[in-house]
Every structure is written in structure tokens, then in C-alpha cells.
């Protein structure tokens, strides 16, 4: 009885080991199963989903106009102090003083891509871009100004 159990044990052990070896052997011979992505080479074919949260950007149209009113909702919504809105007063065509943004400073190094500023923005002025290669040689390059120089607010955005 003891001898029988002993051999049964040995054989079932060897069988379980061979099962594992069969599986790795299968993958060794079936190179189609390889899932490695060759990242820098496949940059052109790399499709990031459109919701991917890469960094905050402010889209401008062809007339160099954006939709930001400078309401600071994003600044208030941000948990890390990533966004700083610097406003100025502009005089519009009717001679009235109007608040507008001077600079929208965005600290990428502080950003956690939580999307709260995008949700908070009432005029959809900022969106998430799908870029993800953010490494730079100097930390100061991570502080970005989102509005283009000389850009203006779009007509009809309040």
C-alpha cells in the first residue's frame, strides 16, 4: 500500500510538471502568440483612444481664437494647483472693459490627469490631448502656457 502510494505520488508529480512544460513548450514554438509591442517603432500605427488623458491643452481655431473666458473654474477645481489663470482687462469694440485671459499657466509636472478641470470648464475651452511622451531635459519646460500668443476669445462665448 505504502509503495503504491509512493509511486502514485511520484507519477502524479511528474505529470503535473510535464503539463507545465507542455504549455511553455507550446509558447516556445508558437511565435504568433507573442504580444510584445515594439513601442518606438510603432509610433505611426499607435492609436490612443480619444478619451486618453495625456495633458491639458486649449484648442484654437484657424483665426487663433480660443473659448476661454478666464472664469477660473478650472483653477478652483484643480486639486493640486496645476492651473493658474492670469487675467487682464481688454477694451472691446464698444469701448467697454472686459475681462479676458492673459495667460493660462499649466504645470504639467503637478498634473495628475484627474480630468476635473475639463469637467468644470463651462465653455469647453480646455480638453485633454492624447500625447503621452512628456519627458523633457529641463523641468521648467513642463510649465506651459496654454493660450497661443495674441490669441483672442471666440465671438459669442460668455
Amino acid at each position: 500500500m505504502f509503495i503504491k502510494n509512493y509511486f502514485k505520488e511520484v507519477f502524479s508529480a511528474i505529470r503535473s510538471l510535464l503539463k507545465g512544460m507542455r504549455r511553455t513548450g507550446y509558447y516556445f514554438t508558437h511565435h504568433k502568440e507573442i504580444i510584445t509591442q515594439q513601442y518606438p517603432d510603432n509610433r505611426d500605427t499607435l492609436n490612443l483612444p480619444d478619451r486618453f488623458k495625456g495633458e491639458v491643452v486649449m484648442p484654437h481655431d484657424e483665426k487663433n481664437e480660443h473659448r476661454c473666458t478666464g472664469c477660473t473654474a478650472c483653477e478652483l477645481a484643480c486639486p493640486n494647483g496645476t492651473i493658474k489663470v492670469i487675467t487682464k482687462f481688454e477694451i472691446n469694440a464698444e469701448g467697454k472693459k472686459k475681462k479676458a485671459i492673459d495667460k493660462l499657466v499649466y504645470h504639467l509636472e503637478l498634473c495628475t490627469m484627474c480630468n476635473l478641470c475639463i469637467v468644470a470648464c463651462p465653455s469647453d475651452a480646455i480638453v485633454m490631448a492624447q500625447t503621452f511622451e512628456h519627458s523633457v531635459f529641463n523641468r521648467s519646460q513642463l510649465t506651459k502656457i496654454l493660450n497661443n500668443p495674441d490669441s483672442k476669445i471666440m465671438e459669442g462665448i460668455e
Binding site: 511520484v10 510538471l17 507545465g20 512544460m21 504549455r23 511553455t24 513548450g25 509558447y27 516556445f28 511565435h31 502568440e33 507573442i34 504580444i35 510584445t36 515594439q38
Partner: protein, 358 residues
């Protein structure tokens, strides 16, 4: 039969004509030394690349594929990296032993090369006690590991070395018994005689089940002896960080690394020699036509093919199995492998006396 003996003999004669006998021997030894060292370098490069590719394919990865065509030059890049790295010595280390341990590991590996027949008539030293020599010298490798573990002044290293000591000493027994079963069948300790005895078929086929069992025991024991997974307790990455070579860096680490791979190569050479006929082509009994066709394949290719098949087997083990625990490792040896090996040896001895093998 195609032979390398002509080349070696002509070199021997040329040297003897040119110089006195002493100088000729000196030059021959020099050449042999250079050959062994360059074989070491090549083996290191090839085996590291092979391991990385094998592991990658089993792990559904691509493996190295950037340096050179298909990543062939990856190991050169690795070697270069290790060469230019600083070899640190920890503060409380025993400096002499710490630096000597990797060298000893390499020396042991080199000594083991001597009796191995790489092809027909291509052997450094046709020793009449080759098998005994191999099992004696391979035990010395444990000293280098103990030395490294002790001298590092690191608890992880020390534990790794102690584990390794217990492990190698135990598994020597199984390996020895497995080797003995072939020696019993052949009646000779010389590796050359063992190869020649497989003229009409390799032992693994001639010797029925007992030799097959001996072969399995041998493979398990040498996997343990070379500290390869699933018996890599001396290194046990997740437990002891890197075991006995935790504190080694740069070229000193590379020497341990190289010694490990060369040891794997050598034990696979021995395995191929004992069980798979060494450089002997695949022969079936007295079927002359078939044997002649097989003889056209050069003996060195036969030898390397068998050896690399065994190396692949060991790598296959490594990338499939989890590691054993230290007490299980010793249980496996003393409760399973050793009794099986002993009974098996008795059966083999009976078989040899009765002449029941082919």
C-alpha cells in the same frame, strides 16, 4: 569516418620537428589554454543569448532584438557593460577571499573542460579516470560559492552560500549514482571508453528503463548542482535578493555568471557523453547502411547538438517551474532521488552481470 585527429596530429608533428620535446609540449599547452579561454568567451555569449531568447519565447515576448541582426550581438553589449562597470568591494568584506572566489569558480569550470571529448579524437586529456575526475573537480565549485558568501560580509550572501553548500553536497550523491550506473555497464572510468562502448547504440536506448531513470536522476541532480531553477536556492531572487553574489558587481559578477553557464554546458557535455553517446553518431545496432549515413554528419555536430539539446532542457525547466523550499529540496534528494538511484544502480548492476542490455 571523418576525424579531427589529422589536424591535431599534424600540429603535434610540426611542433616536435621545430622545437625540442619540452618546448613543443609548452606550446601545445598554450594553444590548448587559448582554445579553452576562447571557448569560454564564446560559450558565455551564446548561452546568455540562448537563455534570453528561450525565456522570451516561453514568456510570449520577443527577447533581445535590437543589437545586431535579430539581437545576436546583445551579449556583446552586455559584456561591454559589465566590463566598464566598477567592481565594488563592500567595506567589511574579506578582500582576498572576496576577489578570489569568482576566479576560483572560473578555474574549476576550466579544469572540468579537460577530459571532455568534443569530437572524435578531439580531447584535451584522454584521462583513464575521466568520470572520477569530473565528479571530484565539480565538487570544488561549492568552495568558491561558500567563499563568496562568507567573504561578502552580507547575511543574504551567507545564507545563500550555506544553502548552496547543503544542496551541492547532497545532490553530488544522486549525480554520482547516476554516473555510476553507466560506469557499471561500461566497465571503464574513461570517458573515451564510454563513448566507444556506445558504438552500436546510445546507453539511453540500450540500457532499457534503468538507464532512462538514471538519466532523469542525472538531469535533476545536475540542475541542482549548477544552482539552476527550480533549485536556484543559492540565488533565490525573491528570498535572498541574489544569494551568494549579492555584493558582486562588474566583472567579478560576470565571472560568476560565466561560470554558471559554463558549468551548465559542462554537465550537459557529461550527460551527453554518458547517456547520449558523446560525439558518437546515432547508430542502430548492426544496420550498416543507416550507420554509414549517420557517420557523414561530423562528430562535433553530433556532440554539440546533444549538448545543446540538454542545455535547452535545463532552460525549459528553469522557465517553467517555481522554486523549491530548502527543506523540500533536501527531502527530494534524501527521500526520493537517493533511494531511487540506489535501487536503480542495483538493477543496472544485475543487468550488467546478466548482460541483459543490447
Amino acid at each position: 569516418m571523418w576525424s579531427l585527429a589529422n589536424i591535431t596530429n599534424s600540429i603535434h608533428e610540426a611542433l616536435n620537428n621545430q622545437f625540442s620535446a619540452g618546448w613543443a609540449l609548452f606550446f601545445e599547452m598554450l594553444m590548448a589554454g587559448i582554445a579553452v579561454i576562447s571557448l569560454f568567451a564564446i560559450l558565455g555569449l551564446v548561452l546568455v543569448l540562448m537563455e534570453r531568447k528561450v525565456s522570451a519565447w516561453m514568456q510570449i515576448r520577443l527577447g533581445p532584438n535590437r543589437v545586431g541582426p535579430k539581437g545576436m550581438l546583445q551579449s556583446f553589449a552586455d559584456t561591454l557593460k559589465l566590463l566598464v562597470k566598477e567592481g565594488l568591494t563592500p567595506g567589511g568584506a574579506d578582500k582576498f577571499l572576496f576577489n578570489f572566489a569568482p576566479v576560483l569558480a572560473i578555474i574549476v569550470a576550466m579544469l572540468l573542460m579537460a577530459p571532455i571529448a568534443f569530437a572524435k579524437d578531439f580531447q584535451l586529456w584522454n584521462l583513464n579516470i575521466g568520470v572520477l575526475y569530473v565528479s571530484a573537480i565539480s565538487s570544488v565549485s561549492v568552495i568558491s560559492i561558500l567563499m563568496a558568501g562568507w567573504a561578502s560580509n552580507n547575511k543574504y550572501s551567507l545564507m545563500g552560500a550555506m544553502r548552496s553548500g547543503a544542496q551541492i553536497v547532497s545532490y553530488e550523491l544522486s549525480a554520482g549514482l547516476a554516473i555510476l550506473s553507466v560506469v557499471v555497464l561500461t566497465g571503464s572510468l574513461s570517458l573515451n571508453d564510454i563513448i566507444l562502448s556506445q558504438q552500436n547504440g546510445w546507453w539511453i536506448f540500450k540500457g532499457h528503463l534503468p538507464v532512462l531513470i538514471a538519466f532523469v536522476l542525472f538531469m535533476i541532480a545536475v540542475t541542482a548542482e549548477t544552482n539552476r531553477a527550480p533549485f536556484d536556492l543559492a540565488e533565490a531572487e525573491s528570498e535572498l535578493t541574489a544569494g551568494f553574489h549579492t555584493e558582486y558587481s562588474g566583472m567579478k559578477f560576470a565571472l560568476f555568471f560565466l561560470a554558471e553557464y559554463v558549468n551548465v554546458f559542462i554537465v550537459c557535455c557529461i550527460g551527453a557523453t554518458l547517456f547520449l553517446g558523446g560525439w558518437m553518431p546515432f547508430h542502430i545496432g548492426n544496420w550498416q547502411q543507416f550507420n554509414h549515413i549517420m557517420d557523414y554528419i561530423p562528430s562535433s555536430i553530433w556532440f554539440m547538438g546533444k549538448t545543446f539539446f540538454l542545455i535547452f532542457l535545463i532552460m525549459w525547466f528553469r522557465w517553467t517551474f517555481p522554486r523549491l523550499r530548502i527543506d523540500q529540496l533536501l527531502t527530494l534528494e534524501w527521500k526520493y532521488l537517493l533511494p531511487i538511484g540506489m535501487i536503480n544502480l542495483l538493477v543496472v548492476a544485475a543487468m550488467a552481470i546478466g548482460g541483459w542490455h543490447f
